[in-house]
Structure formats: C-alpha cells, structure tokens
C-alpha cells in the first residue's frame, strides 16, 4: 500500500515539477507586468517582490520535485534560503537609498475609469 503510494508519487513527480515551474514562471511574468505598469518607483518595488517570493518559491519547489537526488534538493533549498535572506535586504536597501535621496512616493488612490468607480463604491 505504502510502496504503491511511493510509486505513484515517483510517477507523478516530473509532472508536478513541471506544473509548479509553469506556475512560478507565470507569476514571474505577472510581477514583471506590474513593474512595467505601476506609476512610481515604490509601487514597482511591491510588484517586483512577487518575483522574489511567490515566483521563486514555486519555481524552486518545481525544481525540487524534478531533482534526481537529495544533493540537488539540498542545492535548491540553499538557493531558496539565499534568495529569501538577501531579497528583503536588497529591496530595503534600494527603498532606503531612494528615501534618503528624497524621492517622493505617490500617495493616494490612483486614477481609474469612471464606470468601474461607480460599480466599486
């Protein structure tokens, strides 16, 4: 029974890995679209952090599913830990540098279409 489950898991592994990788790649594209669309630097920072957190996690989980051995899983885990330790430090450093240099953020609700506004309120 248990061996059957393990067998099933090993059969499903490449597919699971591929699906997770695809999800991660799509999240990365969404984050990048956000970086292109958002109006000022600070809001773009938020969009970029999707790539750093959810996109990277999904892609690395997918890679871990496809890994041939434990060494590769350990390497994937190491990359994940490094990204999660260095990512916020780098974003904070960028944001802090911009703040210290006196870059003013845009505040308040952004412009939007009038018909959607009426339906929202």
């Amino acid at each position: 029974m248990l061996t059957d489950a393990i067998e099933m898991f090993h059969l499903a592994r490449p597919w699971l890995g591929g699906i997770f990788c695809l999800i991660g790649a799509i999240l990365t594209v969404i984050g990048t679209v956000g970086v292109l669309r958002f109006p000022d630097f600070y809001t773009r920072l938020h969009a970029a952090s999707i790539t750093d957190t959810a996109g990277a996690t999904a892609l690395l989980v997918g890679m871990a599913f496809m890994a041939p051995g434990w060494v590769v899983v350990a390497k994937v885990a190491a990359i994940w830990v490094f990204l999660f330790l260095t990512g916020p430090t780098a974003s904070h450093a960028i944001a802090n540098a911009a703040h210290v240099a006196g870059l003013e953020p845009l505040i308040g609700r952004m412009w939007r279409d009038t018909e959607t506004e009426s339906e929202e309120e």
Partner: protein, 101 residues
C-alpha cells in the same frame, strides 16, 4: 513534461525581455537598480530551469553563485549611491564590548 519545462523557460525569457524594457525606460536611477536586481533573480531561476531542461542539474551551482553575487553587487551599487564611496562601512555600529565567544 519537457513541454511544461520549455514553456516555463519561455515565460521566464518573456519576463526578462519585459524587465529589460523597464531597465531601458527607468525614469529614475532607482528604477534601474530595481530592474537589474529583479533581472538577477530571474536569471538565477532561469539558469536553474535550464539545468533541469537540459538534464544537467549540476548547473544549479552557477545559479547558487549568482544569487550570492547578485546580492553583493546590488549592495555595492547602493552603497555607492548613499555614500559616494566604497570605504564607508555600511553599519555605523560602535564596536561592541567583548563578551563570550
């Protein structure tokens, strides 16, 4: 399965191209730093993915090295911004009194 991997690599390439547009447009210098930093993360992920797509997970070592180098260069750039020099220490911590260790 290979199709899934190929399409995710293609999606990452698209993301890289889009991020390149932001690097080229970037109204302020900080936008460019942000874009390059994000670019580095995406390159790390793409390198790992390529390793699996080509059946050589050993390539993960390069991805690992990149994730560290990328951080170092981002910090170097920001230190340059903030202090206009590389010789200032980032933390202005007073030397702590020695205890333990």
């Amino acid at each position: 399965m290979n199709l899934l991997l190929a399409s995710s690599a293609a999606a990452l390439l698209i993301a890289i191209v889009l991020m390149l547009i932001r690097t080229l447009l970037g109204p302020t210098l900080y936008d460019r730093v942000l874009a390059v930093n994000s670019f580095g993360t995406m390159t790390v992920l793409l390198l790992g993915l390529l390793g699996f797509a080509m059946g050589r997970p050993d390539f993960l070592d390069i991805a690992l090295l990149y994730s560290l180098i990328n951080f170092v260069s981002t910090i170097a750039i920001l230190k340059f911004f903030r202090y206009r020099s590389f010789q200032v220490s980032l933390s202005r911590r007073v030397p702590a009194p020695k205890e333990g260790s």
